[in-house]
């Protein structure tokens, strides 16, 4: 099917009009185009949601600031969180998986290409619907407004009585759509990975990236429905007068929290596993060594996947669970630290004894390792339930999960962009601009989020639109906000680089990094059918085997 499509696309003219090209995007079922569309849409939403964060930081730069009203502030953090998780994190992982998994396993497309396109458009229109709430949230009668219930939308704040208007319904429906999109993507990934591998690509010869995406897909299958179910219940409450979360009628507000976090915690790992996936590809290539302890890396990832479904209530240490409940969830949460530690140690083991090349993808991966280490350790602090009684819902928690999601996930996404852009576009990204991006972002990130831990120790709760002077929070908030400016400048460098290099960048060639997985075995950018002849593999590093016929990997596996 893919081959036919390319013939059609090339036939009419050499420089198709913009309408033709847009039309091609709308009707495409090609995994690479969809992958890039996912990533482009996610980067767009990233800049929007990032600007919202910048507005919040501006509001908090000094005490008693009145730059932004409380209503607007509450919408900002709700939309920022919701967008970053569902419109940036999820689609970017879908985009990377879409683009890379078929290439890495030597396939011509995903298993179910049309379902793939369906998933993308569900996400995309879900995203537009969420932002449309700014124009229409309060219904026809009043001024529009966006949801303002926080990204985890605790009941009963979401009940009709406390959230009149339609804004909360926009939140529910947009995320439901996005959730359906994620689920079909996950189904597709699983079918692709199990059923589309090229000859010789046994499960234990798959690149780590593919393994981790397989685990992510499995987790999405089990984690997304609880959220959808809870959202359906909330819709029934809001529109049909059901009482799932109606505390006046004997309903339980805590039930929502359970359902949400049964989704929400695996979701955190769903978002961080792609970071592991990227790091597990890049670190070996730039250390010039195979990944250390491959079977252990696979086992650790599966362990994390399993344990992540048994830790959700560590978000709820303060809701008044029994001491047994609190202890149980503290134990499981700390146990996640063990396989996570194994992963960090194995990356270290990969670098140890290698010849590390400090190209941009590797720089971002090293940043990831440091920051993820810190995020893991602050996570252990939060897992100690009594410590969490102090830190929960403070800015410490905000700093912690931004270390995970920016220091961890976003850094590897940047690494992935620098690493695979040459493959997708055929040209290298500019290194000088990339270095500016790396250093500005790293300094900005640490200014913002290292300091953000401290007001948490000093009693500053999250999600407050203003604060009084005199509690020692001022200086840290000031520094946090300054850091945002640097991060924004860094992202600007990236955007310029992406646009400029697409036309003027150095030609990349098939395999600019001297790498080992199958995506580098085809042209850059790959043809619509990916591989003219489907490859056959005998080891985890098929290209190493070709480049080193005297010492191929398959001798050792």
């Amino acid at each position: 099917m893919a081959v036919q499509e390319v013939a059609l696309a090339r036939a009419p003219e050499m420089h198709p009009s913009i309408i033709t090209r847009l039309h091609e995007l709308v009707v495409t079922v090609d995994h690479k185009k969809l992958g890039l569309m996912y990533i482009a849409a996610a980067l767009f939403f990233f800049t929007v949601a990032g600007s919202m964060a910048a507005l919040m930081r501006l509001q908090l730069v000094v005490p008693n600031n009145d730059f932004i009203s409380p209503q607007v502030f509450n919408r900002l953090f709700t939309m920022h969180g919701t967008a970053m998780v569902f419109l940036v994190g999820m689609p970017i992982l879908a985009g990377l998986a879409n683009y890379l998994v078929p290439l890495m396993i030597g396939a011509r497309d995903m298993a179910l290409p049309r379902l793939n396109a369906f998933g993308f458009w569900m996400f995309f229109f879900g995203g537009l619907l969420l932002y449309f709430s700014y124009l229409a949230g309060a219904g026809l009668s009043g001024m529009g407004s966006a949801p303002d219930v926080g990204w985890f939308a605790y009941s009963p704040l979401t009940a009709r009585a406390f959230s009149p208007g339609m804004s909360t319904d926009y939140w529910i429906l947009a995320i439901l759509l996005g959730g359906i999109g994620s689920i079909v993507t996950a189904i597709n990934l699983i079918a692709t990975i199990f059923c589309m591998r090229c000859k010789g690509m046994t499960l234990m010869r798959m690149p780590m990236f593919v393994w981790l995406m397989l685990i992510v897909a499995g987790m999405i299958l089990l984690a997304m429905p609880p959220l959808s179910a809870a959202q359906i219940m909330l819709l029934l409450d809001r529109f049909l007068g059901a009482m799932f979360f109606d505390t006046q009628a004997g309903g339980s507000a805590v039930l929502w929290q359970h359902f949400f976090w049964i989704f929400g915690h695996p979701e955190v790992y769903i978002l961080i596993m792609p970071a592991f996936a990227v790091a597990s590809e890049i670190i070996p290539v730039f250390s010039r060594k195979p990944i250390f302890g491959y079977p252990f890396m696979v086992a650790a990832a599966i362990m994390i996947g399993f344990i992540s479904f048994g830790v959700w209530a560590h978000h709820m240490f303060t809701v008044g669970m029994s001491s047994i409940g609190n202890t149980f969830f503290a134990v499981t949460t700390m146990l996640v630290g063990v396989p996570t530690g194994i992963k960090i140690f194995n990356w270290l083991g990969t670098m140890y004894g290698g010849k590390i090349r400090f190209e941009l993808p590797m720089l971002f991966c090293i940043g990831f390792l440091f920051q993820f280490l810190i995020a893991g350790l602050t996570g252990i602090m939060l897992a100690a339930a009594p410590f969490d009684w102090q830190l929960s819902d403070s800015t410490f928690v905000v700093a912690h999960f931004h270390f995970v999601l920016i220091g961890g996930l976003l850094y590897t996404i940047f690494a992935a962009i620098y690493y695979w852009y040459p493959k997708a576009i055929g040209r290298m990204l500019n290194k000088k601009l990339g270095l500016w991006h790396f250093w500005l972002f790293t300094i900005g990130f640490h200014l913002t989020f290292d300091t953000m831990h401290i007001p948490g120790f000093l009693g500053m709760p999250r999600r407050i639109y203003t604060y009084d002077a005199g509690r020692g929070w001022e200086v840290f908030n000031m520094i946090s906000t300054i850091g945002v400016a640097l991060q924004a400048a860094a992202v600007l460098c990236l955007v310029i680089n992406l646009l400029w290099s697409a036309r003027k960048g150095e030609k990349a060639g098939d395999d600019p990094w001297d790498a080992w997985t199958l995506e580098w075995a085809t042209t850059s950018p790959p043809p619509a059918y990916n591989f003219e002849v489907l490859p056959k593999v005998r080891s985890r590093r098929p290209l190493w085997d070709i480049k080193h016929p005297e010492d191929p990997d398959w001798r050792y596996e």
Partner: protein, 330 residues
């Protein structure tokens, strides 16, 4: 610092910290202990792993004279994997034991019968405070006795919510506990020093979550007893402000506010019986001064945007009368 009987002067306490590392009660002290241990363990891990990472980066960087050849290809080692699996498990085991003990110490503590029992009910965006055994209802500012070693005295809070989820957090006294509708939660502390303790609502609860501040005023026992006696009295009935009282009672103020001994019996807003014994208005949004009180009654939306008390559209004359009346509610 709290020797003076006048509660108003207590508001000006030298130390307005809400630092979790300066605990002044048993629960916050227990948490402080475990947090130090956790921080120390995490710090050591960070130094070791971070150090290894830095060492690896420096030691194994590509040197310019040696770019071509590939390093030895090492695929893994079962012994090393075993080591870095077992070692973290041991650390986790230690942490789990300590955590379990602290959880039990704080959560399963049995309280002596003479403990002060207080019910705190979260509202959007203020705290209703009830002393069921003493027959006192007040708002936002929690008064409790100090617990000195010679005569320990605990305060046990029963936490409830009238609307959405809130969270009660006074860092120096205890970790936070949520207030959730249709559910009773509990929190306890035994403040070691008199003075003012600040805190915040720590669960996002809507528009004015930021201005849902907590003030806990810790008194010497005798002083607390005097405060209790004052609060137990019905509202002052001052002849000079009869006109203001009349205006107050004839407007819709009474639908939301209670003033004991009058027909004002509303439950949606704070009890005003002893309004002037409080230091702040709007759950800590502003100081309770004559000017600010007037501004508040005039239009609270200007001082705490989005709060549930509307602009009452009072005339200047009504405003003067009502404020004069409220100012007598000591």
């Amino acid at each position: 610092m709290a020797d003076n009987l006048n509660i108003h002067q207590i508001a000006v306490v030298p130390e307005q910290v809400t630092n979790i590392f300066k605990p002044l009660a048993t629960p916050s002290e227990s948490i402080y202990q475990i947090s130090l241990l956790t921080l120390a363990i995490c710090g050591v891990i960070f130094l070791i792993v971070g150090g290894l990472l830095v060492y690896t980066i420096i030691r194994f960087r590509t040197r310019s004279n040696d770019e071509q050849s590939e390093p030895p290809q090492i695929y893994g080692s079962n012994q090393i994997e075993l080591a870095w699996t077992v070692f973290p498990i041991l650390i986790v085991f230690v942490l789990i034991l300590v955590t379990a003990r602290t959880i039990s110490d704080v959560q399963n503590a049995t309280h002596p019968p003479d403990s002060l029992k207080v019910t705190v009910v979260g509202h959007q965006w203020w705290w209703e405070i009830r002393y069921p055994d003493l027959g006192i209802v007040t708002a936002n500012e929690l008064h409790v006795p100090v617990s000195d070693p010679a005569k320990p005295r605990r305060t046990v809070l029963k936490l409830q919510s009238a609307d959405v989820a809130h969270s009660y957090w006074v860092p120096q006294l205890s970790g936070k506990v949520d207030l959730i509708p249709n559910r009773d939660n509990y929190m306890w502390f035994d403040p070691k020093q008199t003075g003012l303790y600040l805190g915040n609502c720590a669960e996002y609860c809507g528009t004015q979550h930021a201005h849902m501040l907590i003030r806990v005023i810790v008194h010497q026992q005798e002083e607390f007893d005097r405060w209790v006696l004052e609060q137990q009295k019905p509202a002052v009935d001052n002849r000079e402000v009869t006109a203001g009282r009349k205006v107050f009672l004839s407007t819709s103020c009474v639908n939301c506010h209670t003033i004991s001994g009058t027909i004002a019996g509303g439950k949606f807003g704070p009890d005003l019986t002893h309004l002037m014994s409080r230091d702040t208005l709007g759950a800590g949004a502003i100081k309770n001064t004559p000017n600010l009180l007037r501004a508040w009654v005039h239009d609270p939306q200007k001082l705490k945007e989005g709060c549930l008390m509307p602009d009452m559209q009072l005339s200047q004359q009504e405003l003067d009368l009502i404020v004069a009346y409220l100012s007598t509610l000591k």
